[in-house]
């Protein structure tokens, strides 16, 4: 499975760029669709034996986090630097404006949460970056949906506050 990780990353990055561009008129993304479609494509293209679909989803969530964070960081640097040449990826998120939640800040706060509560941090990653539903997350993490809901609600508030304070 590890061998396929770069492929997963590239695939998701390309798809994220695509989706964000194509979907912009609809104002929303379909994160679950994105991750699930990439799963199907990867299984077909790389003959990877994903015997555990949920395992893939957790990897995909990790990848999406990296992609979006890298992207947000690059954009941040670009904004600070003024008229820098645009990074390759930027076409996708050109329309992302300053009022959006700073994905890089989410990533940062999430890293703090990881030291305090790794399980909860992973859960946030799956929900926030992987677009998994409460049920999928519960299934994947072998928790009850009620627990996921509880963890998610508390984490969300904590993250909000951390980001605002940052």
């Amino acid at each position: 499975m590890n061998r396929a990780l770069p492929a997963v990353y590239d695939e998701l990055r390309a798809m994220a760029a695509n989706y964000l561009r194509r979907e912009r008129s609809d104002h929303t993304l379909q994160p679950t669709a994105l991750v699930h479609e990439s799963y199907l494509r990867l299984v077909n293209q790389h003959a990877v034996d994903w015997n555990d679909r949920l395992q893939f989803l957790s990897i995909a969530a990790r990848m999406m986090r990296r992609i979006l964070t890298d992207y947000a960081t690059a954009r941040g640097a670009e904004k600070r630097g003024g008229g820098a040449p645009k990074v390759q990826l930027d076409a996708a998120l050109d329309f992302c404006n300053d009022r959006a939640i700073d994905v890089a800040a989410v990533d940062h706060a999430l890293r703090d949460l990881e030291t305090m509560d790794p399980r909860q941090a992973q859960l946030v990653e799956l929900r926030f970056f992987g677009g998994l539903t409460i049920e999928e997350t519960a299934d994947l993490m072998k928790l009850s949906p009620a627990t996921v809901k509880r963890e998610w609600t508390t984490a969300r508030r904590w993250l909000r506050r951390e980001i605002e304070q940052a």
Binding site: H27, L29, Q30, E78, Q88, D117, G131, R156
Partner: protein
């Protein structure tokens, strides 16, 4: 926050959230945190957070899009069009997707609106310039201009073809286009740019964002917003000045960043940058600072050479495909100096077409090597059998270039001629030679090549002066000549010249490892040629000198595995010359040492196929020396290893000349050993296979006399074997064949002492065979011939022990014949000569173990003769 504390906070928060209303939550908190005000503050601050759309990263982004995409202009009426959504923003304004409002069928267009507040006269003028330009450009791969006008608020707009597509760089990546497909796509772009150029329009701002590709795979060029009109009388000057501040550093040409005049060739540069990115999937330029400073842009764009696309390529497999022509084409288009680029976008496109057809591309300077490689590439099957064609081609190219060189030298400065000659010689020596060396049948071509090259080289050497790098190149060139020429004298001369140059270089720069390495190699090569020419002592001396340098280099660079590999090679070479000269004991020591070092080399680099292949030679050498010493059992052990390796490579690539040669060598040795140990059937089988292989190789390359010598030796050895199993008639056939070839070789090259020694052996064997059938006259005839050659060999090469043992043996044979003809006096005289040699060797301590009994044996024969004479 500590994990424990967080659990406490989290649990309290979750419990508080169970209450639907703020009052309930506050009450709960007061009770729950009665002893812990810090906890209460913490939870309260979390409760104060809005529980809103913080659902997923993607939705957050979607939200942001919604914000960005709902400015007040949506739905606005511009002329006959209604704005649908914004497509993008640039320095000049925004581009909108718009719908024609008054038509029955829906028509989508792109509308470019000037930014509010920036509608200065200057921008308006630029805008009008763009309108006129686009009106002239009617091309399937260029976005059309339909209409232009002024909106209600007085701002100008224009209506363009709406292109639904993705950036060209994304397109090739997403579709995973092959290199050929990418090039096809790119040629369309070139043609479109060429079309614009023919209309005297320079784009000036080509970049991936301006080249979209539709889902049908058609590229479309957008935004001639800063194009410069070349036609006189236009206000192009303003356009240029205005454009200067708008350049995109990653795609701007050197003349743009330097503020120099911009021409159509500037677009060629940018096309080169785009092609680079499309092929390598990496941008051609990488700036060290972000944003790049003016100095950084100048450095990267105007001065620094880009990394070759094949090296930069994201995917190594792609990189391999780019190596060669595509690298050259891209870099030619991206030349810093405009004059060095393709003259137009069309020329670039045409060259890509030539590449796709497998024809020589123009970007290459017409080196011989290159043209020949192309020729060979197109005619792979014919080459082996048509060395003549190759020769003719080479001769033609060389003659032309020679004349060109003379013509040039008459008018150009000496320095330029010098560089030119150097380049040609290098090209001949390194590129062409290497490109043909593994093709069977290339020997004749290689020799002609070398003769011509030598003429250049000697000229160069005279002018080289103190130029160390040139001298170093020269020495390599001389070495190459030494390697391929079959004229011993020429090889010796060339290699001496190389060694002399390298000795000089090491003297000037004693610590330079390259020069030391070259000197070591020079000595090794000299040792080789000395061996062939029959100077065994100096051959051994040079091999030792070569080894000494290799040893010190490996000691100085203990982590350099290549240095270690060379050291192993030096031990092996020394072993070879020692065994050839008859020093079996020392040879065996050297071979064992060689094997030991080679195993260290392989431990460092266990996956190297090349080293594994080399290992075969190490085993073969050991097997050989053990065989010579009569230690057949041990020899067979090593031989098995050699054969295993040879088989491995032979099976992988049975057409490869080297694989076949190695296979022959292993089979040959094996056959000999089997013969010596009485395994008759197996020996014969191996001999037959060995003969088949080497005969085929020799046929493939008639001019390579090395192969022919091996044919002779294989037949000779087979003949010896057949004679021992009492198949004299068949033996005679093989001897005869060995003799015919060797006599031929000697006539062609009298300097090759080793051929003389071979022939002496063959004549001797033929003589003894005749003795067996009782034809004394024939016996004497052959033995006389053998004797005369052997005596010459000893006289010419006193340091070679085998030449001496051969002669001693032949004298003894003659003695035996005289015994058979009842002439004890003559017999005694021959035996005495034989004994003299053996005795002398015994006194010198150079008598090998296998020959230890010879002096006594001959002495007994002499005693018998004495008895008969009494």
């Amino acid at each position: 926050m500590s994990p424990d504390r967080w659990q406490q906070v989290k649990n309290t928060l979750a419990a508080a959230l169970e209450f639907p209303d703020p009052q309930g939550r506050a009450q709960f908190l007061t009770q729950a945190c009665i002893d812990d005000t810090a906890l209460r503050r913490e939870v309260q601050s979390l409760l104060d957070q809005p529980d809103d759309e913080f659902e997923s990263a993607a939705e957050v982004i979607g939200m942001a899009n919604a914000d960005a995409l709902q400015p007040p202009d949506t739905g606005r009426q511009i002329g006959n069009y209604q704005l649908v959504r914004e497509l993008g923003r640039g320095g000049m304004g925004a581009v909108w997707l718009a719908r024609r409002a008054d038509e029955q069928f829906e028509k989508l267009v792109a509308i470019k609106l000037l930014k509010r507040g920036t509608d200065t006269d200057e921008v308006l003028r630029r805008f009008h310039a763009e309108r006129r330009i686009l009106a002239r450009l009617d091309h399937p791969n260029i976005a059309r201009l339909f209409d232009a006008g002024t909106a209600d608020d007085g701002l100008p707009y224009f209506v363009m073809e709406y292109i639904e597509g993705v950036r060209v760089t994304e397109f090739v990546r997403e579709r995973r286009l092959s290199i050929a497909e990418r090039l096809d796509l790119f040629r369309k772009i070139c043609n479109a740019v060429q079309f614009a150029h023919q209309n005297l329009i320079v784009h000036r701002d080509l970049k991936p964002g301006n080249i979209l590709v539709t889902s049908g795979g058609d590229p479309k060029l957008l935004d001639f917003g800063i194009a410069k009109l070349l036609s006189p009388g236009d206000e192009s000057w303003e356009v240029t000045m205005a454009g200067k501040e708008r350049l995109t550093p990653g795609y701007a040409s050197p003349e743009q960043v330097l503020g120099e005049p911009v021409t159509t060739v500037s677009d060629v540069y940018t096309l080169g940058v785009l092609l680079y990115e499309i092929l390598a999937e990496r941008p051609a330029h990488r700036f060290g600072t972000s944003p790049p400073t003016q100095t950084e842009i100048l450095r990267v764009v105007a001065r620094e050479d880009p990394v070759r696309p094949s090296v930069a390529a994201l995917d190594p497999a792609t990189g391999r495909q780019l190596r060669g022509d595509l690298d050259t084409i891209v870099l030619r288009a991206m030349a810093k100096v405009p004059e060095r680029r393709y003259r137009g976008a069309g020329n670039l496109g045409d060259d890509l077409g030539r590449y796709l057809d497998g024809r020589p591309v123009r970007a290459r300077s017409d080196t011989f090597a290159y043209r020949t490689r192309k020729f060979l590439g197109r005619n792979k099957t014919g080459v082996a059998t048509s060395a003549l064609v190759l020769l003719a081609l080479l001769a033609g190219i060389i003659a032309t270039s020679w004349q060109a060189r003379i013509a040039k030298s008459e008018r150009a400065k000496a320095d330029r001629r010098f560089q030119e000659a150097r380049r040609i010689a290098n090209s001949l020596m390194f590129e062409l030679h290497d490109s043909i060396k593994d093709i069977p049948g290339a020997m004749a071509a290689r020799q002609l090549l070398m003769r011509r090259a030598l003429e250049y080289l000697d000229g160069l050497a005279r002018e080289a002066g103190a130029d160390l790098s040139l001298k170093s190149e020269l020495s390599i060139a001389y070495e190459k000549i030494g390697l391929v020429t079959f004229d011993v004298q020429q090889a010796m001369d060339a290699r001496r010249k190389a060694a002399t140059i390298n000795e000089e270089l090491v003297k000037v720069a004693p610590k330079n490892s390259l020069y030391r390495k070259q000197l070591s190699e020079s000595y090794g090569n000299l040792s080789d040629v000395m061996k062939i020419a029959g100077h065994s002592s100096s051959s051994i001396d040079y091999a030792r000198k070569s080894l000494a340098i290799a040893e010190s280099l490996s000691a100085d660079y203990p982590r350099d595995n290549e240095a270690r590999a060379r050291l192993a090679g030096c031990y092996l070479s020394l072993g070879l010359v020692l065994v050839d000269a008859g020093y079996f004991e020392e040879a065996q020591q050297s071979d064992l040492k060689a094997l030991e070092v080679q195993k260290k080399v392989m431990a460092q680099d266990p996956s190297s196929r090349e080293e594994r292949r080399e290992l075969g030679a190490f085993y073969g050498s050991l097997s050989n020396v053990l065989e010579e010493s009569g230690n057949y059992a041990a020899a067979l052990e090593y031989e098995r290893n050699e054969l295993d390796i040879a088989q491995e490579f032979f099976q992988a690539d049975p057409e490869n000349a080297r694989s076949r040669r190695d296979m022959w060598a292993a089979l040959f040795r094996k056959a000999r050993l089997l013969g010596f140990t009485g395994q008759t059937d197996e020996a014969l089988e191996n001999y037959n296979r060995a003969v088949g292989l080497i005969e085929a190789l020799a046929v493939a390359d008639r001019a390579d006399r090395g192969h022919r010598r091996w044919v002779a030796l294989t037949h000779f050895s087979l003949g010896q074997f057949l004679a021992t199993v009492n198949q004299s008639d068949r033996a005679r056939g093989d001897y005869a064949r060995a003799m015919a070839i060797s006599e031929d070789l000697l006539a062609a090259d009298p300097q090759r002492i080793e051929t003389r020694r071979d022939l002496a052996k063959i004549y001797e064997a033929l003589g003894l065979l005749s003795h067996g059938v009782g034809n004394i006259a024939r016996v004497l005839e052959y033995l006389e011939k053998a004797r005369s050659l052997a005596e010459e060999s000893v006289a010419q090469d006193p340091g070679n022990l085998r030449a001496r043992t051969r002669l001693a043996q032949i004298y003894a044979d003659l003695g035996l014949v005289c015994v058979a003809t009842s002439d004890p006096r003559a017999a005694r005289a021959w035996y005495q000569r034989s004994l003299d040699i053996w005795q002398q060797m015994k006194e010198q301590g150079t008598l090998n173990g296998v020959d230890a009994n010879k002096p006594e044996e001959i002495a007994r024969a002499i005693a018998k003769c004495d008895a008969a004479l009494k």
